[in-house]
Each structure stands twice: as structure tokens, then as C-alpha cells.
Symmetry: C2
Subunit: 363 residues, 2 copies
Amino acid sequence: MATTKVSFVDVEDLPDIAAGAAILGTGGGGDPHIGRLLAAAALRRHGPVRLVGLDDLPSDAVVLPVSLMGAPTVMVEKPPSVDQVALVVDTLAGYLGRAVTHIACAEAGGVNSLIPFVAAARLDVPLVDADMMGRAFPELQMVLPSLYGVPTTPMVIADEKGNRAVLDTVDNHWAERLARSATIDMGCTAVIATCPMTGQQAGESLVPGTLTLCRELGRLLRTSKAEHRDPVDGVVTRLRGGRLFSGKVVDVARRTVTGFARGEARLSGTDEHAGGELVLRFQNEHLIAEVDGVVRASVPDLLCTLDTETGTAVTTEALRYGQRLTVIVAPADPRWHTPGGIELAGPRYFGYDMDPVRFGEEP
Amino acid sequence: MATTKVSFVDVEDLPDIAAGAAILGTGGGGDPHIGRLLAAAALRRHGPVRLVGLDDLPSDAVVLPVSLMGAPTVMVEKPPSVDQVALVVDTLAGYLGRAVTHIACAEAGGVNSLIPFVAAARLDVPLVDADMMGRAFPELQMVLPSLYGVPTTPMVIADEKGNRAVLDTVDNHWAERLARSATIDMGCTAVIATCPMTGQQAGESLVPGTLTLCRELGRLLRTSKAEHRDPVDGVVTRLRGGRLFSGKVVDVARRTVTGFARGEARLSGTDEHAGGELVLRFQNEHLIAEVDGVVRASVPDLLCTLDTETGTAVTTEALRYGQRLTVIVAPADPRWHTPGGIELAGPRYFGYDMDPVRFGEEP
């Protein structure tokens, strides 16, 4: 089948997209089951969503990324409504005094790659096949548009009760700070619309093809079993990454603090060649992987926890004792490895006094 | 001099207004010295402010109360700028899609009766001679318009750096909650514009003549000495209140927590007829007064701490060991003594399990 630049996504495409997005979510971005249910409800009611390639975006388009903010541990228990998603878009359009012509995806993730479908279906506008990270990160300012000078605000944040706030801040760190407090007040999860941008800004700053890649990864997992292929191998090959560790989860320490799911997981190795113990440290997303006390992978590269047998992504809030997981590493969009990218989302920002360990350049 | 319904306020009127407002501020509402300096700077630059009586307000006027939110302990160190005050009004007008025709005063207080002059002068619109409480209270929803169904939001909150948020909430308690968190993030003090209302809503819900009363009280303090009158007597008579206690401050426990100045002060009696010890409990404003362990006055009535000699109001953040104070009680606007008023701002809301002790009906 030839790739066309414009395509439609319907309900039956959602399971693959959610499953693939959860892999790129690197442990965060929300549970794919929840994301799939939400988007399916919206598409059943409002019809399929038109997907537009980044290259086909008019330069004067008004593009608005829509996502969920907060702790994935809470999102599982309190999913948003279709109207809540529409409210943030309408409120921001009102504040801007301009209609939103295209919805975009803020980050890859089981929920956050699907919420934009809810917005696009409900508001009957096309969705851009792209995202702001090529993965998921826990804080608002950690998006590639930040490197291009696109401000995070004006942004809107809304809860399920109908409370909403428009934030207009002097820099992106202030947006994160005020929005995080509001998210905590709102019950640790909220719908947000951030970084309104023109088609031209989107074209130069977003990661192209993310939703198509999500669908491809999801399909790969789904078909592997029937085709007798190892699903993890397929994912590693497609992402041009590598296997880091295979093991069994022996300990998970996780707490929902300051609006995030923070913690660490320990895996005991089942692969004799790869060392005895792996420690994963996360803040919504996996940040650092240490094998036998040595950091072997770190942000900004992608650290994905996959079920060893099925290749299904396991999010940080779903980590449980006894799971058999394979941890893979995949290279981040190269812009994350520039000095600006590392300052935004490298290990030091998260409190680890070390340079990033880049895939392919490990010690 | 006959009272005219429309008058102008110029720089030389500000000291009296600030001094009188600090009395009605019942310990809160900000330091009058700061309020006077801010308003004087604005009036010197932009000219006098036209004061409009509540009766003369067109019913379709767009009236916007502007004030400072946060801990008075911090306001003293970080006063707002004229542009910060203008920013909140402009932002709310933009969100409403309507021009603001009149500024109003949110509460009586050394700063909060003066900030509206800054807004009115800078934006060249008249100021309504009224306020939303007839005193000061620490939380956003504690305003008489709440009793008339006027919502607190849409509201705007802004800091001195230029960060701002428009809040639009499902009820006034949610407005307080989200705005309080934002205030804390913004450094425990912020400029706000709340409760946009029509002239008709203002006419039925505001307390008329507050700014004129402030000026009158301030003039009374200023002229008492030359005229050999006791200033405290003058204030008590004008407010139809009573003296509760005269004494020396022997202990002050005060901390800036959850965005408020909270604490208690102890006074040792110097008036033999009035008992041995008074305890004042406050949250920005004085809430409860106990004489020898018995509650003798409480919110919603006004509890004012005046310098025994000069009658000058002493705000809760300015209470110091050794000050000789006279504590007076004055009746609140009668609407505060309705069931709705007591629910909003009676002792129980502040955590004291007791009915209000109403002035003139003490046990």
C-alpha cells in the first residue's frame, strides 16, 4: 500500500496507534487502554479524523497541541471527558481571538497520542501527523518548539468539573510551574492546550510522522505472533535502537508527589549476558537506567519497558512485581542532543549530575 | 462642605483614605504606607481620580474590583507596579470582550482601598465609592456579591514579572483555591481583578460610601490631636462600635503559611476595668478576640487594633512586642449576619466551633 500524505483514522485504527504510542511514551504518556477507549468514544460519535502530514500544513494554519497533564497514576482512575477536551480548545481559541484550524499531538503516549483524536473528532478539524517530542517528557517546557522560541503560553488547563485557567507567562518554566500547581489542585490530572503555533512554526519544530509511526509499531506487535516473529526485535529494528536488559521486576517504589508519578523499579536479570540487576529511575517517564550500578542509558534517549513475550509497552504506573520485561533504548530526535535540548531534558535537569549517555556512544 | 455624589480624589487626599482604610481593614488589607505611596505615584503621573457614588452608576456599567491577593507580610516587601495593575484589567477586559467602564474596591484596607486608585488613574476610568465587604476578609469568595449570585470569575491574577492567569471556575470556592495556589507560586502576593459585574449588580450588592468613610476616618485621626479629642473615641463613635480592650502587646506568633499571614497576638491589660489578657487570632485579618479565655467578639464583625495614643490602625503584620493598643469592635454590614453571610465568613468557616458573637448582643 502506498503512503498517502492525507489519510483518515477510524475507530479500528486506534488500538494499533495506542499500543505503538505507549512504546514511544517511554513509560509515561498514559495508559493505552484508557487512551483507546476515549478516542473510540469520540470517533464513534463524531466520525473519522483526517490526518495531515507536516509537509501539507498551510503556513498560516493555527495549530494547537492538546494533551493530558498530571500523574499517570491518577489518569487511570479519572479519565477526561470529550467535552472537557473541547472546552480547552474553545477557551484558547477565544483568548487568541482566532479559530484553531489544526489539532496536534503534544507527545507520544498511550493517552497523549489519543487525546488529540478526541479533540479533532469533536471539533471537526484535521490532526497533524506529528508531535512536539518524538517521545514523552514529564514537564511542559520539554518540547522541541521551545528550542525554536515558540512559547508554551497562552495555554489553557481544565478539569472534569468545568474549572479552567488561561495562563500567559513570561517564559516556559513559569508556565510549567503555574500549570503544575493548578493540575495538583484539579486532582493531579487535567486537560491542557499549549504552544499555539502557526503552520510554519509547526513545520520547522515538530517531529514528523509520529502518529504513523505509532500505528506501524502497534501493527508490528499485533502481527508478530501470527507471523512467528519476536515482537521486541521488530520494535528495536524499527526504532534503530538496541536491547539493554531482560529481567523480572523484583521491586517498585512509586509515589504520586508534586503532581508526578516518581519512583524507581528494580529488575533481576534473566539474560546471563547482560548483568545481574537493572535499576530504572522515573518521573512519569523513564529517565535513567543503571545496570549493576553503571548508567547505561539516559534521557533524552528513549528508554522503553516492553513485555518480553508480547512486546507490549508497560507504563511506569503499571509496573508490578513479577513482570518479565525487556528494556530497550532508542535514539531521541537529534535536536534533543543539542546543548539546548540537553539543558531542557538532559539528566542534570532531573537532578542527576552526569552527562547524557547517548545510544551508540555508551562507555 | 456639602457632600456631592461625584468628586475627585487627588494626591493630597490619599493619606487620609489610607489611614481610614487601614482601620476598616481589621488588621488586614495591607499596610497604609505602601498603599499611599503606590496610589500617589499613579495619581501624580495620570491625574486625579473621579469618584462615583453607587447611586450614580449606570445599570449597564462594567464594574471591576481590583485588589492585591496574598500575605500582607510579603506585600510590604514586594509592592506591585502600576503596569501590573493595568495588566490585570486589560487582560480581563480582553477575556470578557468588553471595556471596563468603572473600577471598584474589593475590600477596605491600607493597600486594597488604594490599589483601585492606581487602576482608575492609569486606565482613566472612574472609581466607584463602594467596596465588596465594608471591611477586609482573607478569602476571595468572602464578598457580598457572592450572596447575590455574582460569580468571582472570570478573574485575572498577575505577578510583577508579567505572568498572568485568567481563571474561570464552577464556583467561588474553586476560584479561591486555584488563585491561592497561583498567588503562592507568584511569591505570596499578586494583583487580581475579580467579580466583574454590571452597574445594577454593583448597586444591589456593594457597600456604599466606603472610600468616603475611609477619608472621613483618616481625617478624624489627623485632626484629633490639634483639636484635643481622643482619636479612638472618634473612631468608635463614627463606626457605632465599642471599645473592647486596652493593653500592651506581650506576644505575637505569626507565620506566613498557605499564602496567608496566620497567627495570634496576646495583650496584657492596662485598663483595670477590662480584664487581664486579650488574645487575638488572625488570618490576615483579626477573626476572634478572647478576653480572659472568653470570646468577646468575632467575625463577621470588625475587630480593629488601634494605637492607643494616635488611633492609627496597626495591621497584623505590623504587630510588635510593646505596642500599646486599643482593640475596638464595630458592627459589620448587616448582610454579613444573615445565614449566608455567616456561612461564608463566620467563625465556623475559619475553624472555630462557635456561633458569631455579634456586637451589641455579647453574652
